[in-house]
């Protein structure tokens, strides 16, 4: 397995640890407003300094990992499960559900700019964490469905599936016990890249004011909060730390996805 993928796993491991043990890692309070202490540079007391309201940037970045990972995990789980079930049914049974999916849903949803669809959904539904997650799931499941449908179409012709059928296994048993476990590998790659996409989308929408509302320490909100000209002049570090957090997270999941893809399919090794 390549070195970048291992680096990715290490970063994600650290991130999970930080998110799980946030209250013990960030000793400073993340919400206490302390105006005399604003714009402090990084120091031993405030590792990442303080922001325009005197809040501890380190604590906010640490708690931000919770929001990012929660959105990523929920979006990927829901999209993958919904996509897998619908994609598998379409691929295995064919018929009208397959015609609807491969003829309409795949072509239309994947021809549409994903971020814009999420923005449109949130614009009409209203901003908020749950609505954001819902919007990302609505655009997210299609990719998994297409992937699994293709896999199922391929695997259902294999000899062991014919053997299972000859032994009298029912359709659902063949699909869920024999076919799907063999179709799962590319799904893991897709899920890893999907985590990167979901983290990025959450930060983007929160940056635009369409995701998690401001006092919450979403990395996107923190960047939007820090980028005013006077604030940028006084304290660029308030912008830089959440920025690094987003970039590292997205990089890590992309490294893992690319690494796994190579590992699972040697034919796709990069030239």
């Amino acid at each position: 397995m390549n070195r970048l993928a291992i680096l990715g796993f290490i970063i994600v491991g650290v991130l999970l640890f930080v998110a799980l043990f946030a209250p013990w890692i960030a000793t400073q309070d993340l919400a206490t407003i302390n105006l005399p202490m604003r714009y402090l540079p990084p120091s031993t007391e405030h590792w990442f300094g303080t922001d325009a309201l005197g809040r501890d940037v380190f604590a906010r970045v640490v708690y931000g990992a919770r929001i990012s990972l929660r959105v990523g995990i929920v979006v990927v789980l829901v999209s993958a499960v919904v996509g897998t079930v619908l994609g598998a049914l379409a691929g295995y049974f064919g018929g009208w559900i397959d015609r609807l999916m491969s003829g309409y849903v795949f072509n239309v949803f994947l021809a549409f700019p994903g971020l814009l669809l999420a923005i449109a959904l949130v614009a009409f539904l209203g901003a908020g964490l749950n609505k954001l997650i819902l919007a990302l799931c609505i655009i997210g499941w299609v990719g998994y469905a297409r992937l699994i449908r293709g896999q199922v179409l391929k695997i259902r012709e294999y000899d062991f599936v014919q053997a299972a059928r000859a032994l009298g296994a029912g359709d659902l048993r063949i699909l869920f016990v024999h076919i799907l476990p063999n179709a799962i590998q590319p799904l893991i790659v897709q899920a890893s890249l999907g985590m990167a996409g979901a983290v990025l989308a959450e930060a983007s929408l929160s940056f635009l004011g369409l995701g998690v509302p401001p006092p919450a320490p979403s990395w996107g909100v923190m960047i939007e909060d820090a980028r005013g000209l006077d604030r940028l002049q006084a304290a660029p570090h308030v912008l830089i730390f959440p920025g690094i957090a987003i970039v590292l997270t997205v990089l890590a999941f992309n490294f893992i996805g690319d690494g796994l893809r190579e590992y699972l399919d040697p034919r796709q090794r990069k030239r």
């Binding site: 700019p113 814009l116 449109a120 959904l121 940056f207 970039v247 992309n254 030239r271």
Partner: protein, 339 residues
């Protein structure tokens, strides 16, 4: 048999073209349906959101009638009757969904809930700025990626190659809302070379274009690199070298010409992505384009009619750009046409 194959490929070609156009129409139909029906999901009454809690019932009724909001939303609905029970009601073609379509086909997207200006006018006013920004960032991406990709690909495995791969990877992972404010900090706040926001002077486009084009530069660099590596392994390169052509000439006269075909496709496809991605860049730099219109004037002021128009125009532009590139690419490269 050979005469027939010409006709057959022609038929195949026409069929493929029609299929593509049909698909395009299907996508556009879905987008229009989405923007017309999503407005039903708005929590609360858009009229109250615009006029405020202080508005009299007469004012609200007048607003609703003016914007057609008093009409049924779709062909059918399930209104509540006096007893509170819901029942099925058929409205026929007399509904807002049809209204929107009929007006749209006449080039009318309704009037802004806030300013009462035609949405089409507002969009046409802002559209050129977004196109300008997308084209500028495309230019920047090409200027960065072709030299970098060629150098990396023709020096495969050296430190130059590794360095440019790392730069490209970071470029892909840097979202515009991170790189944009950082560029503002360095080049506007610290160095003072550019204005932090706005679009008055010609040089104001530099920072937004770099922000929007950064990720594309990185993607293209990787593509140019692998394309150059692939072409360098071809027989014609060996022939060119064998006849004594210098390495520089081999690359610029032979390899680049063939290697750029896939790059051109990606460029075209990315124009659409750039248009959609411009929303965030426009927000960062207060660039007066379609994205800012959508975020600030549309969503920010709950002007849902404007949101509908902006989402529609941005998506259709994106979809058209993608389909056109696809068709042109198929036309250019016969290998793809056949398969």
């Amino acid at each position: 048999m050979f005469e027939n194959s010409g006709l057959g490929s022609f038929k195949h070609h026409i069929f493929g073209f029609l299929r593509r156009v049909g698909l395009l129409l299907l996508v556009v139909w879905t987008v229009v349906s989405l923007v017309t029906l999503l407005i039903e999901l708005v929590p609360g009454d858009p009229a109250v959101a615009i006029l405020g809690d202080q508005a009299t019932p007469e004012q609200i009724a007048q607003f609703r009638a003016h914007h057609g909001l008093d009409r049924p939303p779709f062909f059918f609905s399930f209104p509540e009757d006096a007893g509170g029970a819901r029942h099925f009601a058929w409205h026929g073609a007399d509904n807002r969904y049809v209204d929107y379509w009929v007006a749209l086909l006449k080039g009318d997207m309704g009037r802004s809930f806030r300013t009462d200006q035609p949405v089409m006018d507002l969009i046409l006013l802002r559209y050129p700025a977004t196109i300008e920004l997308a084209l500028a960032s495309l230019l920047i991406a090409v200027a960065i990626s072709i030299p970098l990709g060629v150098v990396a690909g023709s020096n495969r495995g050296t430190w130059i190659d590794n360095f440019s791969s790392v730069v490209a990877l970071i470029g892909i992972s840097l979202p515009s809302f991170v790189i944009g404010p950082m560029l503002v900090y360095v080049f506007a706040v610290k160095l003072g070379w550019f204005a932090p926001t706005g679009s008055e002077e010609w040089q104001d486009i530099v920072l937004p274009a770099v922000t929007l084009g950064a990720a594309l530069s990185a993607i293209l660099t990787r593509m140019v690199r692998s394309s150059v590596i692939e072409e360098l392994g071809e027989d014609y390169v060996r022939t060119a070298r064998a006849k004594g052509l210098g390495e520089r000439k081999v690359i610029y006269k032979h390899v680049l010409k063939n290697g750029l075909i896939p790059v051109v496709t990606i460029l075209g496809l990315q124009l659409g992505v750039l248009l959609a991605g411009a929303i965030i860049t426009e927000k960062i730099f207060s660039w007066q384009g379609l994205g800012l219109l959508l975020i600030d004037d549309g969503i920010g002021k709950r002007d849902y009619r404007l949101v509908q128009g902006c989402v529609l125009v941005i998506s259709v532009t994106y979809i058209l750009a993608n389909s056109l590139t696809d068709m042109i690419y198929r036309w250019l490269d016969p290998r793809i046409r056949v398969s």
